[in-house]
């Protein structure tokens, strides 16, 4: 006798989704308008209609094992056209938010960041206090009357002593969570081919925001997101170059404004500022397109904004304002950057990692003769 498939709905998961802005899933009547209007849905495994069904039933395992949850870019083209106002775009964002928490390693940090709506003050304050305390403990907490470089107050060695281990920790935590997700996807769909060979075209797609570009409703967010992305890339590259500059080339800080590293750093700052302003302004004016913001989104955007704001202001402060002001801001800046690092695997920032991974999985899971996703829609076979 054939076995009857067992479906295990989870009311707890449904409640969890509802708490994070996915309550509208219950309105869905499975018409599939969402999948039909989605520009990113691959023809052999369209989304988000099926994911809405899983969300509605509380089938957490299905959603965890489904890379489509991450292939969704939250354009909300689906939400605009949904005849029941079930907002699939928001529901999938809520699913991602739950998954980020459930995949978190260690779990308590995931829970802590997931409750940002209440824990945000602590999350924001603790790293700043940590820096203040560390500087005080190492007798570096001073506010000089003249300031040419921040190194006069905060030695680079101290910064690297904190951020190298933190970065290593972030990589480890992300790796553990990513492994879990990768295994879940792999169990559901076999993969073939090389990870690294698939990563390259994915990186190219991300560099140009190829998929994001094809979203209609999210178009107002496109430029801001692209600038922010490249701003972060630029800032990361600058940080790497500075390590080389300080320890290999023996460059003296601060670098002249005309130094290539400085130019790259300041250019990145401009991208970050413009991108951040575009996104925040769009959010505040409601012109970012459809979609509801939850604590998951707001907390992340706040941290990113604070990183940019304190970073730029401390440089401006050092150049043009009082040294004490600049140093204070710099300490806050170190704190929020530490926050950004530490919460990366548990906040919305994790989408960078999980979505990229999902895109790699999508390529490796596609049959070898299939056209590159998400192109190539099926033609209905004539009977």
């Amino acid at each position: 006798m054939a076995s009857v498939p067992l479906v295990l709905p989870s009311p707890a998961f449904r409640r969890e989704l509802a708490r994070r802005g996915g309550a509208t899933a219950s309105r869905c009547y499975q018409c599939a308008t969402c999948s039909a209007v989605c520009e990113l849905a691959p023809s052999d495994a369209p989304f988000p209609r099926r994911q809405m069904l899983s969300a509605q039933w509380g089938l957490a395992e299905n959603l965890a094992a489904d890379p489509a949850v991450w292939l969704c870019h939250q354009c909300n083209d689906c939400s605009l056209r949904c005849p029941r106002d079930a907002r699939p775009g928001d529901v999938l964002q809520a699913v991602r938010s739950v998954l980020v928490e459930r995949l978190a390693f260690p779990a308590f940090l995931g829970r802590f960041v997931a409750r940002a709506a209440t824990t945000a003050p602590l999350l924001l304050l603790l790293p700043v206090l940590f820096w203040a305390a560390l500087l005080a403990a190492t007798s570096h907490l001073t506010f000089p009357s003249t300031l040419t470089a921040f190194e006069e107050v905060v030695p680079h060695a101290l910064i690297y002593a904190v951020f190298f281990p933190v970065a290593a920790w972030v990589v480890l935590a992300s790796w553990v969570s990513g492994r879990r997700l990768w295994a879940l996807w792999g169990a559901a769909t076999p993969r073939s081919g090389s990870f690294w060979q698939s990563l390259l075209p994915v990186a190219a797609e991300i560099a140009g925001h190829k998929r994001f570009r094809s979203c209609h409703a999210a178009h107002p967010r496109f430029t801001g997101h692209l600038l922010l992305f490249w701003g972060f890339v630029g800032a990361a590259v600058t940080s790497g170059l500075l390590i080389v500059g300080i320890y290999v080339q023996g460059l003296a800080m601060p670098l002249a404004l005309s130094h290539p590293y400085k130019i790259l750093g300041n250019l990145s700052a401009v991208l970050l500022v413009v991108g951040g302003v575009l996104l925040v302004a769009g959010r505040l004016s409601g012109s970012n397109g459809p979609g509801t913001s939850t604590a998951f989104d707001t907390y992340f955007l706040t941290v990113v904004s604070l990183v940019i704001l304190t970073g730029v202001l401390s440089e401006v402060g050092r150049l043009f304002l009082s040294p004490a002001f600049a140093v204070s801001l710099y300490i806050v800046h170190l704190g929020v950057v530490l926050n950004l690092f530490l919460t990366l695997p548990y906040s919305k920032f994790a989408h960078l990692f999980y979505r990229s991974l999902a895109m790699v999985h999508q390529r490796m899971a596609a049959p070898p003769d299939a056209a590159a996703p998400p192109a190539g829609r099926d033609r209905l076979q004539e009977t």
Partner: protein
């Protein structure tokens, strides 16, 4: 019998529901004033090629009803006539009588004063009678008329002379003149009319009637195609509505009953039906119009009869074929070359070679399809006329714009004015409405 019970009933709208309510009330012994905005009775049903599920032409049903109208001296039929004003007749007698608690809570009707059950004083406006009762429908005027207008009976899909018989078998059998379309100074039809039935200077005229109760049978209009541009509505010529399909299939239609693509006049080799186009959709009509599933199945049978080689796909969310209509669904679903595919179409776009491409997820296979079609029929729903115009009686409406009875104010709704439904249900509803209206006048 109280005097108001002797007052006539007013029935607004002479479609299948209004005519039914009128003749039923008249045959029960009540005088009826039947008011119709158009120049002939029949309303929407006459625009259908056939009824489902029996696939008989609607003219049969209407013929019986017009014969009943003709035979009924109690019905006064006023075409080209609209209700412009209405006031509740105040009656000194029984004015202080307490309203029963149940009615007081169920409807805020007391706004109309204490004369619960009292009649209405109604002002009717007769639209200018450019063509008078002397018309013999000989057609001499149409032959000389130089002006052409889009034919409202064919939903604008063909051109007709400004003066014409509104549609074959129109009753009353009298021509109609679209005065706004007349070229300045033109008198061609006046000169041509052997009966002297054309009066280009006719004016509006008002009339006041006292009625005991009112039946609103104001029916519906099709949901506008232009509101569905993502499905090609109003954008792509070969995307038509279900009501247009009825006209294409009808012998009295713009193509003489041949189903042809509007863009090139060729018979379509592949036709796609998009169900729930702008229905059950919070962005459009939130409700189900109850007839579109069966209407599309019926239209599949038109295609089958006329173009047996044509492939047909019907894309649906749910297949709603209650009662005996189930048989029709089974029959259509089993036809070769006909597929019923679960999935709402998200987009209709131009494809190469003059065809149309439909984006849809086939829910059963879980695959995203780009399907090709030569002609796309959008199964659009019904918008109640009361939604836009509650009439001067201020009919109470539900959240979708459908009317509600207010028996204590002698206001009754009938047919699609009450809810979206098919012709048979509308007729049954109208019969019930007649009974309610007869009683409403006798309440106190």
């Amino acid at each position: 019998m109280n005097p108001q019970a002797a007052q006539p009933l007013l029935v607004v709208g002479a479609g299948i529901a209004g005519v039914t309510a009128a003749v039923e009330a008249a045959e029960a012994g009540r005088d009826v004033v039947l008011v119709e905005r158009d120049s002939a009775v029949g309303g929407r049903v006459l625009r259908n090629h056939k009824y489902f599920p029996k696939l008989c032409p609607p003219s049969c049903g209407m013929e019986i009803n017009t014969r009943r109208l003709e035979r009924s001296p109690r019905v006064r039929v006023l075409t080209r006539c609209v209700v412009t004003k209405a006031t509740k007749a105040t009656k000194a007698t029984k004015a202080t009588k307490a309203t029963p608690a149940t009615t007081a809570t169920s409807a805020p009707a007391t706004a109309h004063g204490p004369g619960a059950g009292g009649g209405w004083q109604v002002t009717l406006t007769h639209l200018p009678a450019y063509v008078t009762e002397a018309c013999t429908a000989c057609g001499a005027c149409s032959e000389v008329c130089p002006a052409k207008v889009p034919d409202p009976f064919n939903l604008g899909m063909s051109q007709v002379p400004a003066v014409r018989l509104p549609f074959p078998n129109a009753w009353p059998r009298r021509f109609v003149l679209d005065r706004a379309a007349c070229p300045p100074g033109c008198k061609a039809c006046v000169d041509a009319c052997p009966a002297g039935a054309i009066d280009l200077d006719a004016v509006e005229r008002e009339e006041t009637v006292e009625v005991g109760a009112v039946v609103a049978a104001t029916g519906w209009s099709p949901y506008p195609l232009e509101k569905l541009p993502e499905l090609g509505g109003g954008v792509l010529p070969d995307v038509i509505s279900n009501v247009q399909m009825e006209r294409l299939a009808a012998p009295s239609g713009p193509t003489g009953g041949k189903i042809l693509r509007p863009s090139d006049g060729r018979p379509p080799a592949r036709v796609a039906f998009v169900q729930c186009a702008g229905s059950r959709d919070v962005n459009h009509l939130p409700y189900c119009s109850a007839v579109c599933c069966l209407a599309s199945l019926k239209q599949v049978l038109y295609l089958r009869e006329q173009l047996p080689e044509t492939k047909v796909d019907v894309y649906y969310i749910d297949r709603r074929s209650p009662g005996r209509n189930e048989e029709m669904l089974t029959r259509v679903a089993s036809l070769d070359g006909v597929r019923l595919i679960k999935g709402k179409v998200g987009k209709v776009e131009r494809d190469g070679g003059g065809a149309l491409a439909l984006r849809v997820e086939d829910v059963e296979s879980g695959r995203l399809l780009t399907a090709s079609a030569d002609l796309v029929v959008l199964a659009t729903g019904m918008v109640p006329a009361l939604a836009q115009d509650p009439l001067p009686f201020a009919f109470e409406r539900d959240e979708d714009g459908f009317g509600r009875d207010r028996i204590e104010s002698a206001l009754v709704v009938a047919g699609v004015a009450r809810r979206a439904e098919d012709v048979a249900a509308s007729v049954r509803d109208a019969t019930g409405a007649a009974a309610k209206a007869l009683v409403a006048g006798r309440r106190d």
